[in-house]
Amino acid sequence: MAYAHIGTEVIDTAALEARVVTVEDGAVCTFIGNVRRRSRGREVAYLEYNAYLPIANRMLQEIADEAESRWQVKLAVQHRIGRVDLGEAGVVVVVTSVHRAEAFDACRFCIDTLKENVPIWKREVCPDGAFWIEGEVSLPASKAD
């Protein structure tokens, strides 16, 4: 079973890698999704992630398990909720396998499927107001912080 976790704590990428790296693996593929300064033409101060955990936890686990069994890899994924500052990771996916092709494919599948399906939302807090991001849509929030 893959490791999947959603929580407020800062993601320790090395610790996450240590969960899945063994001497059998020739490939370690780590994707880090960082909070960046510019988004949709706006300057971002920080992000706030919110999740519907009863579904998000189950779905993230299912996606991670599916990637493991489809590509015969080991996978660990962690997503943050709450406030995440610029330059910090919102999500990290680590995949290890004997060769690189499976690791890349499984990693990409995991992050793409997660973004599409898992009920987690970001709220972009900008100097002049906050925005809810829902899929491709961005909606102004009534509270500024």
Binding site: Y52, P54, E116, W121, W132, E134
Partner: protein, 388 residues
């Protein structure tokens, strides 16, 4: 609305009933600041509050400051009152024959909607104006044009607050007292999630529609449904009447103490087609008697065969529409997810795209629109994801 003051005829010992999901409240005074309507409403057990967002007897209002808006919204969050509604100024006549009054009214009403939107109030109740003996048919057409234009203009500006047209008593040259005419006005403006109706029991009764017995209540609501549509109801003003059936005079009385009497309110509050619609008392003596009238309405509501209470938990931008992002909705037994979505849209037109925009979940399962809801369940509405 009516600000008659009369003797306190109810015992204030009736103030003991609480703890119901039914949206029940009163028109609360805003003296000392708009937010005071929320704190005093909370104190007397309101789960719905109506307020004026400006002086109802003045044309112009100083625009709300950012501080006022912030204060109101944070008080709303703290008090957790699920449903708010604004009542517009008495001066507004969206059917006015005189061009200058008409323009002034339209501009003032746009202001009402803008203020409601800024404060997070989903509906503005308005009376339908008067023809002032200058031709009733033309007045109806002016009203329709006013409403259509105002809804279009404000929508273009991103305003989500809706208009609830209030049934009137037919006093003087007031429009909209007959269900026929109200139905014509709705049809004239056209279906719009931001257009609904407010039924006032005192006005309906004064206009000649009896609701005092199970038979007359049934006939009147059936007539209302045929001509106006129960599905258009967004709020009910529960007021008893000092004047008799068909008097065409608008004088509000305490619940059960007037010409309408207690049975009508019991029938109304136990009508399962209306149980998710918020009810507001606009009865006299706010300071002393609102507490009593709200408690009385709550007890009447709790007396009948009840439906189920479902908690809706909203995410993304929808989470801002109710305190804490959640609201308890009362639905008939056997209701499904789609019924919940429709009831939520009735409470706030900003939720009209909920069922097309969201997935729904109960606990850790995604469910579709036909999933049957159980008493006490929590339904999460999940907008498109944006994690990663």
């Amino acid at each position: 609305m009516d600000h008659d003051t009369g003797p306190s005829t109810l015992s204030s010992q009736e103030d003991t009933v609480s703890g119901s999901a039914r949206l029940i409240g009163a028109h609360m005074p805003t003296a000392g600041g708009l937010k005071n309507s929320l704190t005093s409403g909370k104190e007397i057990g309101c789960t719905a509050v109506q307020l004026f967002t400006g002086n109802p007897r003045q044309w112009s209002h100083p625009s709300l400051t950012d501080d006022e808006i912030r204060e109101f919204r944070s008080t709303h969050e703290q008090t957790g009152i699920p449903f708010l509604v604004a009542h517009d100024s008495y001066l507004i006549n969206l059917a006015a024959p005189a061009a200058d009054v008409l323009e002034r009214s339209r501009s003032a009403f746009r202001g009402e909607l803008d203020r409601a939107h800024a404060l997070g109030i989903p509906w503005v109740v308005t009376h339908m104006g008067s023809h002032l003996d200058q031709g009733e048919e033309e007045a109806v057409q002016r009203l329709i044009t006013s409403l259509r234009e105002i809804l279009e203009e404000t929508e273009a500006e991103g305003c989500t607050a809706g208009v609830a047209l209030e049934t009137t008593a037919g006093q003087g040259t007031g429009l909209g007292w007959s269900f026929n005419q109200l139905g014509d006005i709705l049809k004239g403006v056209g279906e719009n999630p931001r257009l609904g109706v407010c039924m006032d029991t005192c006005h309906v009764f004064a206009a000649g529609y009896d609701i005092r017995t199970p038979e007359t209540y049934r006939d009147t609501i059936q007539k209302f449904d045929e001509l106006v549509g129960i599905n258009h109801l967004r709020v009910i003003h529960t007021n008893d009447s000092k004047k008799g059936l068909g008097s065409r005079v608008d004088r509000h009385e305490h619940i059960g103490m007037g010409e309408i009497g207690m049975e009508a309110f019991s029938l109304l509050l136990n009508d399962e087609r209306l149980m998710h619609v918020p009810v507001i008392a606009e009865t006299p003596d706010a300071q002393t008697m609102h507490r009593v009238n709200v408690a009385r309405l709550r007890r009447l509501a709790a007396s009948g065969a009840y439906g189920i209470v479902v908690t809706a938990q909203l995410f993304g931008h929808y989470s801002e529409l109710f305190p804490g992002g959640t609201v308890d909705v009362l639905l008939p037994k056997g209701a499904v997810i789609n019924d919940l979505a429709a009831a939520l849209t009735d409470l706030n037109p900003a939720l009209s795209d909920l069922s097309t925009h969201c997935r729904f979940a109960i606990a850790d399962e995604l469910v579709d629109g036909s999933a049957v809801l159980r008493e006490g369940c929590t339904v999460a509405a999940l907008p498109p994801s944006s994690g990663g």
